[in-house]
């Protein structure tokens, strides 16, 4: 969680956004980013792998496993984010 992010969250709390909604936003963002990363990786592997002399065999199960691991990591990461977000006091949006 960056400082600016936390400030935005403080503003959301201040104007009355419930914790549930804030948590859902963070989760969706994390999973979305993870999926983008995963797809980029997947495409890179499919397109560039033939250019490399040494090959690693990737079975469809491996891809699925990688996807599952990505999602788990994203959800774990967002839990940390959600905890930080729920902790931030709304007053910190104001400053000075």
């Amino acid at each position: 969680m960056t400082q600016t992010k936390l400030k935005e969250i403080a503003v959301l709390k201040l104007i009355g956004t419930p914790d549930r909604l804030i948590a859902r936003m963070i989760l969706i963002e994390a999973v979305g980013l993870g999926l983008i990363g995963f797809l980029t990786g997947k495409l890179a592997v499919s397109y560039w792998a033939p250019l490399f002399p040494k090959h690693v065999v990737m079975l469809p199960e491996d891809t699925l496993r990688a996807l599952a691991i990505t999602l788990v990591i994203c959800i774990l990461a967002s839990v940390a984010g959600i905890r930080a977000a729920l902790w931030v006091p709304p007053g910190s949006a104001i400053g000075g």
Partner: protein, 205 residues
């Protein structure tokens, strides 16, 4: 919600105190602070740095917990040695408009969405919420930037959107929570104009 009592000041603060922290490092920011503001009165809070202006506004805005005393807003007791509302987030959403030192708009929403989010959080329909947002964009003279992303707006345009957001739910109180240093000369007048218009003809929910 009871209507404002005409005989009572719009803002009544009695013996408000606020201590940050405890023990050796405790800071008593407010000590028996009392204040009365009549409806329609325009008041500026002046004082040297560290004189607890922000603290007072945060207490009035139900953002920070006071340590004791009483806050009444338009005949409603907000705080009497304890908050009288369990859901202060809903209280802020429905009744208090905040304008910050900087606009602090939500960057992943466009100008209209930044305003419409308030009625939507209140549970109003999408159509109604957008209509309210458009009405305010008109009032604040930024309708032409309605679908702009926040980073595409100038500083003052952002501040106008922030004012519109503060007014979106027809709040009974509006706190500019700090001096807004980046405002150009016309911006405070925009806010005053808005408040006057709003005071003279409040649209009742």
């Amino acid at each position: 919600m009871p209507r404002a009592n005409v005989n009572e000041p719009a803002i009544l603060v009695e013996n408000l105190s606020k201590t940050y922290g405890r023990g050796d490092t405790a800071v008593q920011a407010l000590k028996n602070a009392s204040l009365q503001v009549a409806a329609g009165e325009v008041v500026g809070l002046l004082g040297p740095s560290g004189s607890s202006k922000t603290t007072l506004l945060q207490c009035l805005g139900a953002i920070t917990d006071p340590s004791g005393g009483r806050i009444r807003l338009g005949g409603q007791t907000l705080y009497d040695n304890g908050w009288q509302y369990s859901n202060r987030r809903a209280l802020r959403r429905d009744q208090i408009g905040f304008i910050f030192q900087r606009p602090y708009l939500i960057p992943f929403l466009d100008a209209t969405e930044n305003i419409a989010i308030l009625p939507m959080l209140q549970g109003q329909g999408r159509k109604q919420s957008y209509a309210r947002a458009n009405e305010l964009l008109d009032t604040l003279d930024i309708r032409h930037r309605a679908s702009a992303r926040i980073e595409e707006l100038s500083g003052e345009e952002q501040q106008r959107v922030a004012i519109a957001r503060a007014l979106a739910n027809h709040p009974r109180w509006c706190w500019p929570t700090n001096r807004p240093p980046r405002w150009t000369a016309s911006a405070p007048w925009t806010l005053c104009g808005c408040c006057m218009k709003w005071r003279n003809g409040p649209t009742q929910r």
